[in-house]
C-alpha cells in the first residue's frame, strides 16, 4: 500500500490504450440511484440471485487481498477500482493511458437469474458507467453491459446506447447458459453488427452455472483460474462452428483476459477437425482459422512468460500483430505493467506501438 506512485513523465510516451480496467462500486448500494423503487426494494429484500452456492462470493477464494493489488485500496475505505482519483493518479496518469476501456464485471445483470432484474441492472450499470466514470474522466470508455440471457433487453440496450460515443463496445459473459455461438444469442450479434460495435467477452464468474471444466469442478483457485482459458477456447470454437461469423460477416469479437497464446493451436485443431467433419457443418464455409484471423481480437493480460521470450513472439506472429491489444486488468492482482510487460520481448517499434495502442485505436475507431 506504500508503494510510491510512478512519475508519469517517461511512461506517457507509451501512449497506451488499456483494454481492461475494472471500475468498482463505491458502496453495495451504488447502483440504487439508477434503479426504480421496485428494483431497489427487490434488491434490498431478495438480493441478487446468481448460480454459485454462496452469496456474494465465489467458492474459490482469491489468493491475495480478494484478488486486488494491495496498493489499489483507496484510503476512504471504498473497494479497489471505486475511486476515480486514485485510478487517475495511480494508473491513467502514471502509465500514460490515453484511453482506458471500462469492463464493469459485477452487477450488470450478466449473472442474474431473474431476467427482469437483470435488465434493470444492465441499464443501471450503463448509466452508472456514464455518469460516474466517462463524464468526469473522458479518457475512459464504457462497454454496453448486457445480460446475454435476456436477448430482448440486450438488443434494446444496445439500440439505446449505441449513438453515445462513450460506449465503444458491448460486454457480455462468455460463461453463458448455452455456448455463445448458439442461435439464441444471434439477435445480440445482429445488433452489434448493425451498430458496428465489437462484442467484448471477458472471463467471468459462474454466469451459466455449468461446471468450469468438462470433467467437473476443480479443487483449487489455481485450476479455476486456468479454466477461464479452456473456457474461452470453447467460446471461440462455438462462435466459429455454429456459424456466427458466416452469418454476421462484419462482427468483431474481443476476448479479454482469456489469453491469446492458445489461439494458434486451437485454430490448427479446429482446421484439422473441420477438414474431416465439414459435411456436418456446411454452414462453416472456410477453414476456422480464417474466421479467427478476421474477426477476433485478443487482449494481453495476463501475458504468458515462457523462459525464452522469443517463443511468445513466435506465438504473437501466428496470432497476427494487428489482433493483439494491450491490457492491464487494473486493479486486479495479476495486473500487467505497461512499462514492464513488453520489455522482455524483442519487438519492433511498430509492433510495440500496435500492441500498446494502435490496434485498439483502429478497432474502436479512436482518434
Amino acid at each position: 500500500m506504500n508503494v510510491p506512485v510512478r512519475q508519469p513523465v517517461a511512461a506517457q510516451r507509451l501512449k497506451v490504450v488499456d483494454c481492461d480496467i475494472h471500475p468498482a462500486y463505491a458502496a453495495p448500494t451504488a447502483l440504487f440511484e439508477f434503479l426504480s423503487q421496485r428494483w431497489r426494494d427487490h434488491w434490498s429484500t431478495f438480493g441478487t440471485f446468481f448460480r454459485p452456492a454462496l452469496i456474494g462470493q465465489l467458492p474459490f477464494p482469491r489468493m491475495m487481498a480478494g484478488g486486488m493489488r494491495i496498493d489499489s485500496f483507496p484510503k476512504n475505505g471504498s473497494p479497489p477500482g471505486a475511486d476515480l482519483e486514485l485510478m487517475q493518479r495511480q494508473h491513467l496518469d502514471a502509465n500514460g493511458v490515453e484511453v482506458g476501456m471500462l469492463i464493469a464485471l459485477s452487477r450488470g445483470g450478466m449473472e442474474e437469474r431473474n431476467l427482469d432484474f437483470a435488465a434493470a441492472l444492465s441499464t443501471a450499470a450503463n448509466d452508472w458507467q456514464l455518469h460516474k466514470w466517462c463524464e468526469p474522466e473522458p479518457r475512459l470508455r464504457a462497454a454496453i453491459v448486457v445480460p446475454q440471457e435476456n436477448t430482448e433487453h440486450a438488443v434494446a440496450e444496445i439500440e439505446r446506447r449505441s449513438s453515445d460515443p462513450a460506449f465503444v463496445q458491448i460486454l457480455m459473459s462468455p460463461r453463458s447458459a448455452d455456448p455463445l455461438g448458439n442461435r439464441r444469442y444471434w439477435p445480440i450479434y445482429a445488433a452489434a453488427e448493425a451498430h458496428n460495435k465489437p462484442v467484448a467477452l471477458h472471463v467471468a464468474g459462474f454466469s451459466g452455472g455449468h461446471s468450469s471444466t468438462p470433467t467437473g469442478w476443480p479443487t483449487y483457485y489455481m485450476q479455476e483460474h486456468y479454466a477461464q482459458t479452456t473456457g474461452m477456447q470453447s467460446t471461440l470454437a462455438s462462435l466459429v462452428f455454429e456459424g456466427v461469423f458466416e452469418r454476421f460477416p462484419n462482427l468483431k469479437v474481443v476476448l479479454i483476459e482469456g489469453g491469446f497464446a492458445w489461439a494458434p493451436a486451437l485454430a490448427w485443431r479446429m482446421d484439422k477437425a473441420w477438414e474431416r467433419m465439414r459435411a456436418e457443418v456446411p454452414h462453416v464455409k472456410r477453414p476456422p482459422s480464417e474466421y479467427v484471423r478476421q474477426h477476433v481480437w485478443f487482449t494481453t493480460q495476463p501475458i504468458d512468460e515462457p523462459d525464452q521470450p522469443k517463443h511468445l513472439v513466435d506465438t504473437m506472429e501466428w496470432v497476427g500483430w494487428d489482433r493483439i491489444m494491450f491490457s492491464t486488468d487494473y486493479p486486479h492482482w495479476d495486473y500487467d505493467d505497461p512499462a514492464q510487460v513488453l520489455a522482455r520481448l524483442k519487438l519492433t517499434a511498430k509492433q510495440k506501438a500496435m500492441l500498446l495502442g494502435d490496434n485498439a485505436r483502429a478497432l474502436y475507431g479512436l482518434a
Binding site: T213, T215, Y220, G231, F241, A273, R276
Partner: protein, 377 residues
C-alpha cells in the same frame, strides 16, 4: 512421411469393439441373466464421442472390420493388416473404448469392463503377440476400478489403465489416489484418452450443437486433467507415475506450461506441495501420443517451432490412432520433426513411458478371474 524404421511402437490403436454377445463367455451367471432378460445384448454401447461412421472415428479405407460383432474377420486381422504389418511395428497398444464405462450402474460397468479386458486378452493378445493393451476400468467407482486393476495386472501384456478425458470429476482428486498407487506399484501407466461419459457439458458454457465442436473441446479436457493431476500433488505423492495423454493433441502444451507456470508462481501458497514448476513436472511424468497433429498443413517449420516451445523431444509417443482418421495413406509422421525426435518418438519414449514393454511375456493371460467371481458386490 512414412515410418522410417521397423520396430516402432504404436501407442494408440482401437480394435473393433466386441458385441455384448461376444462378452457373454467372460461374464458371471448373474450378468449373463441380466443381459439376456433386459435385452442388454441388443444394445450397441457406442460412446457418443465416437459415432461409428463419423469420419473422425473411421478412416474411409479402414472401415472394414470395424463394426461391432463383425464376424467375417478375427479381431486382430484388421490391425495386423493396416497397422502392425504395414508399419512393421514391434508393438501396438490397444485402447478399447467401450461404452460400458458410461453406465450409471457401477456394478454393471465393472462387469462389462472385466468382460472386455478378458475378451481383449483372449481374442487380441493371445492371437497376436505384438499387441499390448490398456485395462478398461469403471472409472467413476474407485473401489471397483481398483479391484479390476488388481485382477488384470498380473497379465503383463496390459501396460496401462485407461481413463476418459471427461468423466465425473477431475482425475487428480484424492479419492482417485488408490488407483494411482496401484498403477505405480504395478508399473502401469495412467492413460487418458479422448472421450466423455457426458457427466458434464463439454464446455463451461454448456452443450455445443455439433460433433466437431465436441471433438475440439477434448483438448480443453486434457488441459483440465493435466492441471488437476499437477495441482492436487499427484506427482509429488507418486513419483514413479507416468501419465500418457492419448489422442489429446499436443500443440496446446507450450501455452499450458507458460500459463500454469505463471499462475503457479502467483498462487503457489495455495498448493504448497508443488515443489517445482509445472514444466518440470510434465517433463518428468507426462507423455503425448502423436496423433492428431494439430498443426498447420504444409508448414513444417511451424511444427518444428512448436516442438521447440515444448522444450523436450521426449514428449511424443508414436501413434496411428487406427482406425480414426488422422492422416492419409502412410503419411503418419508429420514433416517438421528432427531425426532424433522421430527415433525417440518411435521407440525410446514409449519404452520409457510403459515399463511393461521391457518385459516380453509369452502369450497367455496370467489369470482369468471373471468366471469365478461373484458379480454383485
Amino acid at each position: 512421411m512414412q515410418v522410417p524404421i521397423a520396430g516402432a511402437i504404436d501407442c494408440d490403436v482401437h480394435p473393433a469393439m466386441p458385441s455384448v454377445t461376444a462378452l457373454l463367455p467372460y461374464l458371471s451367471d448373474y450378468w449373463r441373466d441380466q443381459i439376456a432378460n433386459r435385452h442388454i445384448d441388443k444394445l450397441p454401447f457406442q460412446l457418443s464421442s465416437y459415432p461409428p461412421s463419423s469420419p473422425l472415428s473411421a478412416r474411409p479405407d479402414w472401415k472394414a472390420g470395424q463394426s461391432p460383432g463383425h464376424v467375417e474377420t478375427l479381431p486382430p486381422d484388421p490391425i495386423r493388416a493396416h497397422v502392425l504389418d504395414r508399419f512393421e511395428l514391434r508393438h501396438a497398444i490397444c485402447n478399447t473404448l467401450h461404452g460400458g464405462v458410461a453406465l450409471f450402474n457401477n456394478d454393471m460397468a465393472a462387469a462389462i469392463c472385466s468382460g472386455v479386458n478378458d475378451w481383449v486378452a483372449k481374442e487380441l493378445l493371445d492371437a497376436e503377440p505384438r499387441l499390448r493393451a490398456s485395462i478398461l476400468v469403471p472409472a467413476h467407482d474407485v473401489e471397483l476400478s481398483l479391484r479390476e486393476i488388481e485382477r488384470v495386472a498380473p497379465d503383463k501384456r496390459f501396460v496401462q489403465v485407461l481413463f476418459l478425458a471427461m468423466g465425473e470429476a477431475p482425475l487428480g482428486r484424492r479419492s482417485n489416489w488408490p488407483l494411482f498407487a496401484a498403477c505405480e506399484k504395478h508399473g502401469l501407466a495412467v492413460g487418458i484418452h479422448a472421450g466423455s461419459t457426458y457427466r458434464h457439458a463439454p464446455t463451461y458454457a454448456g452443450w455445443p450443437s455439433y460433433r466437431v465442436e465436441d471433438y475440439v473441446a477434448q483438448a480443453g479436457a486434457f488441459e483440465t486433467q493435466l492441471l488437476s493431476l499437477i495441482a492436487e500433488g499427484v506427482f509429488q505423492k507418486f513419483s514413479g507415475l507416468k501419465v500418457v495423454l492419448i489422442e489429446s493433441g499436443f500443440t496446446w502444451l507450450p501455452h499450458f506450461l507458460w500459463r500454469t507456470g505463471k499462475t503457479w508462481r502467483g498462487v503457489r501458497s495455495e498448493v504448497p506441495w508443488i515443489d517445482r514448476s509445472p514444466t518440470e513436472i510434465v517433463r518428468d511424468h507426462v507423455r503425448f501420443t502423436l496423433q492428431p497433429v494439430d498443426a498447420p498443413k504444409g508448414e513444417p517449420e511451424v511444427l518444428a517451432r512448436v516442438i521447440e516451445h515444448m522444450g523436450s523431444d521426449e514428449f511424443l509417443l508414436f501413434s496411428t490412432d487406427y482406425p480414426h482418421w488422422q492422416f492419409d495413406g502412410e503419411d503418419v509422421v508429420p514433416a517438421g520433426l528432427g531425426r532424433d525426435t522421430i527415433r525417440k518418438m518411435l521407440i525410446d519414449n514409449a519404452l520409457d513411458a510403459y515399463p511393461r514393454l521391457h518385459e516380453a511375456p509369452e502369450g497367455g493371460a496370467a489369470q482369468n478371474g471373471s468366471e469365478s467371481e461373484e458379480a454383485v458386490s
